[in-house]
Structure formats: structure tokens, C-alpha cells
């Protein structure tokens, strides 16, 4: 074999260089074309046999310069672009952006808009988690959950399609409220979905939760302690699985989350299995939020008076929401013109991915894909 040799992989890679076999290490390149790196992530793994002794993530293959585009579009023009970052949770991205600009404009969306936003965002969270579950299970070798998850996700996408005409990159919201009035049967559709969904989650759990192989593959894999998680800025389900009970929907309520009752699931050990359980429970909680929200959608306008040309007063604002993957923050600086002076997006996937090296050290190649799956990254958001 032609052994590719690299002396320094990353700053920390050289700390544990003891090989068990006494042979040369193997450098293996996972990606950017690889079935389970979820897009164009490239991971350089340094292996001793099958054991990972160092890793380096190489990203940027999908870099489109979203932040630069933002500086050259008006506030409204930029809104559809954010849908293309985390394209499996476009609604959440849109919500974060619209609310950030509303904060910058010092306006508030009307109550009706906020409730509908909440419903759609929670549906989006379920859809995103479903996609995660399907692909994660597929990475670990369970073929079937993927299709069940897709079936449920399809129902959600149909609701989106009925609402705004688009399924994936929805651009569902508008700065100041909503683009469209809710269609007539929205409540009924959401209710039907929520009714079915309960038994469907139970179905996935019968396939996986108690499965010995699944437990063997996920328990104790990719442990991230709470201290590490905070130090690495990890947020979202990954942080909660490490035992930190922190959710922006509770910590800094936005949209209409302060009106609803829901639990924040937390894990204990912070391993892949805990992250799995946390996300499963989050889907159930999202379902409960949806059910509460459709019970009472206030009447009234759906759009605050913001005007056609948005010229926020100079200044800056940071607004973060709990996207399915973690804290999605927008830091927007205005100079008083129609275009943002600077849009900074704090992408949860990008920052969560940084903890990958910490989680993967000492595990086997098979665990690498499990860990990539469990962080739940979307490369569109990592690279922006």
C-alpha cells in the first residue's frame, strides 16, 4: 500500500500517537464523496487498524458566501437566501431571520402571525428530526426507518406546500409577520398529522430503542460531557443530551412559545444513545406544542405595519432561536440603508461539528459515521 503519511493532522492529533499494532498509521479520507458524510463533509481520519487516533474536518465545499450576499441584498431580498442554509429546516431559518430583522426594526409580529409561525416551526422541527432519524439509522445499518420517516415527513411537507406552495425552501414568513394567511384546513391537517404521529413515533421506537444491536452501536459512543459541550459551544439536542437543560424556547422565548407547555428532554451521559432519545422526545414535545397551538389561533392581522421599504434605524441586534440543530443566531448590523451592513449567521451545525474530533477519538471507523449522524449536521449550514 502506498501509505500517505502526514505528520500533523490537527493541533491535538499528535497527543496520542501510540499504535497498538506497531505498524504505520493509516490515513483515510472520508468524503467529500462518501455515502454517510451527509453531503460534502470531508473527514481525514488517522487510523490505527480500525481505531481512530486523530481526525480533521475539512469543510467549505458548499461555501456560497451567504453573508456576503446578505450585504448586497435588501432586507427582504435576503430572506429567501437563509432558507438555503439549513435546507432541511428552512422554516426555522426563516423564522430566525424575520425575527432578527423585526427586532432591528423594533416592531413585533401580530399574535396571529406568531402562533402560526410557531406551528410551522414546530412541524419543521419534527421534519428535520425525522430526516435525522432516518439517515442516522441508515448509517448504523437499519434500512427501514428511513422510509417510515420519509413517509411522515412527506405529510409535513404537504402542509407546507398547501400553506406557501413550496416544500423545502419555503420562505414561509415575511419580515413583520406572515406572507400568507393560513389556509382553511390548516388546523385540521395539523391535527390529523399530530394524531397519527404519536403511534408512528412509537413504531420507530419499537424498531430501534430496545434493539440490542442499536444499543450496542450507540451507547457509550461519542460521549460529550456537559463541560466539554459548553466549552465547545455545542447547542441544541447535542447539548441537552449531555445533561444541560437549556432550550432557547424556554430561556428566551420567541414567537409564541411562552404560551405553551412543553418539557425539555435531557440526557445523562451525553452519548449517541442519549442524543437519540432526546430527539425522539423532542419530536413528541413538538407534537404537543402543535396540538396546543392549533386549539387557539387568535384572529387578527398577520402582518405588522412595516412598510414596503425597510430601513431599520442604525444599530445592531443579535437574535437567536432554537433551530432543530441548535442555537441559530443572526447578528445583523444596520447602517440605516435598505441593505444590511453586515449579516452574521451563527450556524449551529458549524459549531456543533467542531466537537466532532473530541467525540470521535478512540472510537472505531464504524462509530465515525454514527457520530457524524448524531451531531445532525447539514453542510449547507456548515459551509454557508
Amino acid at each position: 500500500m502506498e501509505a500517505e503519511r502526514e505528520t500533523t493532522l490537527s493541533s491535538e492529533a499528535t497527543t496520542e500517537n501510540k499504535t497498538l499494532l506497531g505498524a504505520d498509521e493509516l490515513i483515510i479520507n472520508m468524503g467529500p464523496q462518501h455515502p454517510s458524510t451527509h453531503g460534502v463533509l470531508r473527514v481525514k481520519l488517522k487510523l490505527d487498524g480500525e481505531r481512530v487516533i486523530g481526525s480533521e474536518c475539512i469543510i467549505g465545499y458548499l461555501h456560497r458566501g451567504v453573508e456576503k450576499i446578505g450585504e448586497n441584498r435588501t432586507y427582504q431580498q435576503f430572506a429567501p437566501y437563509v432558507d438555503r442554509m439549513d435546507y432541511v429546516a428552512a422554516v426555522s431559518n426563516g423564522l430566525g431571520y424575520c425575527e432578527a430583522i423585526e427586532k432591528l426594526l423594533v416592531v413585533e409580529a401580530p399574535p396571529r402571525a406568531r402562533v402560526i409561525r410557531t406551528i410551522l416551526t414546530e412541524l419543521q422541527r419534527i421534519a428535520s428530526h425525522l430526516l435525522w432519524l432516518g439517515t442516522h439509522a441508515l448509517d448504523i445499518g437499519a434500512l427501514t426507518p428511513l422510509f417510515y420517516c420519509m413517509r411522515e415527513r412527506e405529510e409535513i411537507l404537504k402542509i407546507f406546500e398547501k400553506y406557501c406552495g413550496a416544500r423545502l425552501t419555503t420562505h414561509a414568513f415575511r419580515i413583520g409577520g406572515l406572507q400568507y394567511e393560513a389556509y382553511d384546513t390548516l388546523e385540521k391537517d395539523v391535527e390529523r398529522f399530530c394524531k397519527d404521529f404519536e403511534s408512528r413515533v412509537a413504531e420507530y421506537e419499537t424498531l430501534l430503542t430496545q434493539n440490542r444491536i442499536w444499543i450496542g452501536r450507540t451507547k457509550g459512543v461519542g460521549i460529550l460531557t456537559a463541560e466539554d459541550a459548553i466549552a465547545f459551544g455545542v447547542t441544541g439536542p447535542v447539548l441537552r443530551a449531555s445533561g444541560v437543560k437549556w432550550d432557547l424556547r424556554k430561556a428566551a422565548p420567541y414567537a409564541a412559545y411562552d404560551q405553551y407547555k412543553f418539557e425539555i428532554p435531557v440526557g445523562t451521559t451525553g452519548d449517541t444513545y442519549d442524543r437519540y432519545l432526546v430527539r425522539m422526545e423532542e419530536m413528541r414535545q413538538s407534537r404537543l406544542i402543535c396540538l396546543q397551538a392549533i386549539e387557539n389561533i387568535p384572529a387578527g392581522p398577520i402582518l405588522a405595519k412595516v412598510g414596503k421599504v425597510l430601513k431599520p434605524p442604525p444599530g445592531e441586534v443579535y437574535h437567536a432561536i432554537e433551530a432543530p440543530k441548535g442555537e441559530l443566531g443572526y447578528y445583523v448590523v444596520s447602517d440605516g440603508t435598505v441593505q444590511p451592513y453586515r449579516v452574521r449567521i451563527r450556524p449551529p451545525s458549524f459549531i456543533n461539528l467542531q466537537a466532532f474530533d473530541r467525540m470521535v477519538r478512540g472510537h472505531l471507523v464504524a462509530d465515525v459515521v454514527a457520530i457524524i449522524g448524531t451531531i445532525d449536521i447539514v453542510l449547507g449550514e456548515v459551509d454557508r
Binding site: 502506498e2 480500525e50 481505531r51 445499518g141 427501514t144 430501534l208 444491536i213 472505531l364 464504524a366 462509530d367
Partner: protein, 450 residues
């Protein structure tokens, strides 16, 4: 001189025309069968996953395997620059050659067996099919790619580990017959009036697990684990070379299920073959075929195009013809001599299909093992269990022969033996859990060494 050569050839042909013809038929037909097994697998998978599967080529995708074969044949044949060309060429051929050769030893019904009555039947089949691993190892090595190398290393380690367990399980079964001859094994089950799966259930279970691992099927499909190693040892292969590996894999599936059927599931025997009361079971095969034909006829008007309707009718007709063929030996006294051949073949294929169905079902249901877990399962559980099982089955047989037990009464001694083996299995599991809890963070064992 020339005459002598021709004469010798003619003599050879006269003597061996039947096996040669059968061999040709196998080489020609097996790829088609494998193609349809793949189609069935995809259809089953689709059914379990709430979707339809291939539907485009032919009615219900029935022509899909042919389309796939054509696609694979006309694909560009790529050999990587840094590959060892000769070995790269040789590896898939070795793999598929071993798999096809091992078919020769199998008896599909009392009438159809190419290598008739070899004394070491089962040993021949198992031994030759295990040769296929060379194809995998060489292919992975010759590709000169890290993924391929890791895939082939995993594969060889896995085969070595599980071949031991499978062999031990076979030994437990063979103790009951005392012969390696395939025909004699089945006849022994006929004479005893009981399938050996009842007498040696633990051995059957071990063989079941080990055979899945040997054929690199899920949940033990680590050598080609798509999500980790892209395609393992097959990563660099494309087009026809790749399909040869595929052919070898599915042929091996047929081989291991045939071995299991022969040794444990009564080979070509009908259930309760010696009990006249159950003779009505002879009508099951034709009725089954009539059922399939009826379903096809029912679906015919719903086919979208004329061609598809005709095709559906053709399938129905084929099934009816098969039903007639199956019915003839039961109903017509003249055709009675053909009974053993035709019905034997049906039951054998039926059992093999059921076994393969189980393989597929597992694949769709459960996730994949990790490599260390796989090795632990093999070395720390299956191998000790299989050794213990050989011992207890042997003791049970001695006790049985002391009391002169036969047939179903053998259960009196073999059931306790199976229970003992199960208790041992649970003890091994408990011990394994304790030890793994004790050294959670211990360094990995050296998998590839074993």
C-alpha cells in the same frame, strides 16, 4: 492419433454428458435466478418499507433483473491505475467460480445432483464455497484502496471466525447421521421420520447466525458496509466485475441455505414424509401455483399497457403449467415415478426460499453490528456454544442409543441436551456482560489477528 483423441472425447461425453449439461445449465441459469432473487429482495424490502419497489420495467418490475444485467454488461470497465491488474481480473472470477462450483455438490431433489453421491458431499460444498474468500481478499488487496483493503481484511477475519462456529454446528448435525453424503443425510431424516432441526435446534441456530455472517449479509455485512466503507472490497469494481461479486454473494446465499436445508430441514422431503395421513400435503404445491396464477389473472386487467397485460397472462400461464406438472405425479398413476423428482425439487426450493427470506427479513429489520461486537459475538459466544453443543449432542446420542431410541422418541434425550446448551449460552452471555462492564475503556483487542 486424431481418431484416438476424438474417440476419447466421445467416450468422455458419453459418460458425463448429463453432469456437463447440468453444469452448463447452472452457469447459464444461475445468474438469472440470482437476478430474480435480487428482485424479490427489493420487492420485499419495498413492501416492508411502505413503498412499491421497482415498477417500471415490465409489470411490477418483473423484467428489472434483465434490464440490470444489460446495464451492467455494457457499463465501462474501469481498472484503477494503481491496481494489480492480473489479480484485479482474477479476484471476482475466483469468487464466483468457487460459488458456482459448490452448487455442484448440492442435491436439489433426489434426481438432480451434478456431482452424484460424493462421499464427502457436505464437506465438499462447505470447503469449496469457503474458497470464495480468496476472491474477496485478493480483490480488496488488488484495488489498492484503503476502503477496499479494510473491507477485505474485515471479510477474511469474519469468515475465519464464523466458519469455525458454522463447522462445529454442522458437526453436531452430522453426528446424528454419521455420514457426509448429502443423499444419505436426507434419507436418514426420512428414516427417522423427524428433521434434524428438532433434534439439534441449537446447532441449527448457530449455523443460521454463522451462515449469515459467512455470506456477509446484514447485520453482519461489515465488509461491504455502505455507510462506513463505501462498498468495502467492491469499492473499485464496476460493471461486470462488480456483478460477478454480486453473483457470488447471492450464490453463496443459495449454497448456505441449501446446506442448512439438507442437514437440518429435511432436504427435499415433504413435511411428515412418512405419515400417510399427511399425504394431502402433496396437493399444496399445485394449489399454490394455481393461487399465484389466479392472482396474476386477477391483476391482468389492471395493467396499464397491452404488453404488460400479455406478460401477466404469460406468467399466469407458466404458473398453471407448473401446477399441472406438479399435479401430474399425484393424480396420474403413470407419472408416479416422477413424483420424487418433481415434488422433491419443489420442497427443496421452497425451503431454501424460506431460509433466504429470513435472511432478507433480518436485513431490513436490524442495524449493523460493529466490528468488535461482531468478533466478540463470534469468538466469545458462538464458538464456545457450538463446542459445548457438539459435546452435549454427542452425549445425548450415546444415551439415546443405550436406550435404543429412534425418531421422535429421540427428543427425550436431545431436548435436555438443547436445554443444557441454552443454559450454557445464557451463562456465556452473562459472563460476557460482566467482563465488558468491568473494562469499558480497555483497549481494543487485536481483531485482525484472529
Amino acid at each position: 492419433m486424431m481418431q484416438a483423441v476424438i474417440q476419447a472425447t466421445m467416450d468422455f461425453l458419453k459418460l458425463y454428458w448429463a453432469p456437463l449439461l447440468c453444469g452448463l445449465v447452472i452457469v447459464a441459469v444461475l445468474p438469472l435466478i440470482v437476478g430474480y432473487i435480487v428482485l424479490v429482495e427489493r420487492k420485499l424490502m419495498a413492501d416492508m418499507q411502505a413503498r412499491l419497489g421497482p415498477m417500471r420495467v415490465g409489470p411490477h418490475g418483473l423484467l428489472q433483473p434483465i434490464a440490470d444485467a444489460v446495464k451492467l454488461l455494457i457499463k465501462e470497465d474501469i481498472i484503477p491505475d494503481n491496481a494489480d491488474k492480473l489479480v484485479f481480473w482474477l479476484a471476482p472470477v475466483l469468487s464466483v467460480g468457487a460459488a458456482l462450483l459448490s452448487i455442484a455438490g448440492l442435491a436439489i431433489g433426489p434426481a438432480f445432483q451434478i456431482a452424484k453421491d460424493i462421499n464427502i458431499g457436505i464437506l465438499f460444498v462447505v470447503g469449496v464455497s469457503a474458497m470464495g474468500i480468496f476472491g474477496i481478499v485478493l480483490g480488496g488487496w488488488a484495488s489498492n484502496s484503503h476502503y477496499s483493503l479494510m473491507g477485505s481484511l474485515r471479510s477474511s477475519a469474519q469468515l475465519v471466525s464464523y466458519e469455525t462456529a458454522a463447522g462445529m454446528a454442522l458437526v453436531s448435525g452430522l453426528l446424528l447421521t454419521g455420514t457426509l453424503n448429502i443423499k444419505a443425510i436426507v434419507e436418514a431424516q426420512y428414516n427417522e421420520g423427524i428433521w434434524f432441526v428438532m433434534l439439534a435446534p441449537v446447532a441449527f441456530f448457530i449455523y443460521l447466525v454463522a451462515s449469515i455472517a459467512e455470506t456477509n449479509r446484514a447485520p453482519f455485512d461489515l465488509p461491504e458496509a455502505e455507510s462506513e466503507l463505501v462498498a468495502g472490497y467492491m469499492t473499485e469494481f464496476s460493471g461486470f466485475r462488480w456483478s460477478l461479486y454480486f453473483l457470488a454473494e447471492y450464490t453463496n446465499m443459495i449454497v448456505v441455505s441449501s446446506v442448512a436445508t439438507t442437514l437440518f430441514l429435511g432436504g427435499w422431503l415433504r413435511p411428515f414424509a412418512r405419515v400417510h395421513f399427511f399425504n394431502f400435503l402433496d396437493y399444496v404445491p399445485p394449489l399454490l401455483m394455481i393461487g399465484v396464477a389466479g392472482y396474476c389473472l386477477l391483476r391482468t386487467p389492471k395493467q396499464p399497457s397491452r404488453v404488460q397485460q400479455l406478460f401477466m397472462l404469460a406468467v399466469a400461464g407458466l404458473c398453471l403449467a407448473l401446477a399441472l406438472v406438479l399435479l401430474a405425479p399425484v393424480a396420474l398413476p403413470i407419472a408416479k415415478p416422477l413424483y420424487a423428482g418433481i415434488h422433491g425439487g419443489f420442497w427443496f426450493i421452497f425451503k431454501v426460499s424460506a431460509y433466504i427470506y429470513f435472511f432478507m427479513w433480518l436485513r431490513f429489520t436490524i442495524p449493523r453490528y460493529r466490528f468488535d461486537q461482531l468478533m466478540r459475538l463470534g469468538w466469545q459466544f458462538l464458538i464456545p456454544l457450538s463446542i459445548v453443543n457438539v459435546l452435549v449432542v454427542g452425549v445425548a446420542l450415546i444415551v439415546g442409543s443405550y436406550f435404543n431410541l429412534h425418531g421422535w422418541s429421540m427428543l427425550l434425550v436431545t431436548t435436555p441436551a438443547a436445554i443444557i446448551a441454552l443454559v450454557v449460552a445464557l451463562m456465556i452471555l452473562a459472563a460476557g456482560q460482566q467482563s465488558s462492564a468491568g473494562k469499558e475503556n480497555a483497549p481494543a483487542s487485536d481483531f485482525y489477528a484472529g
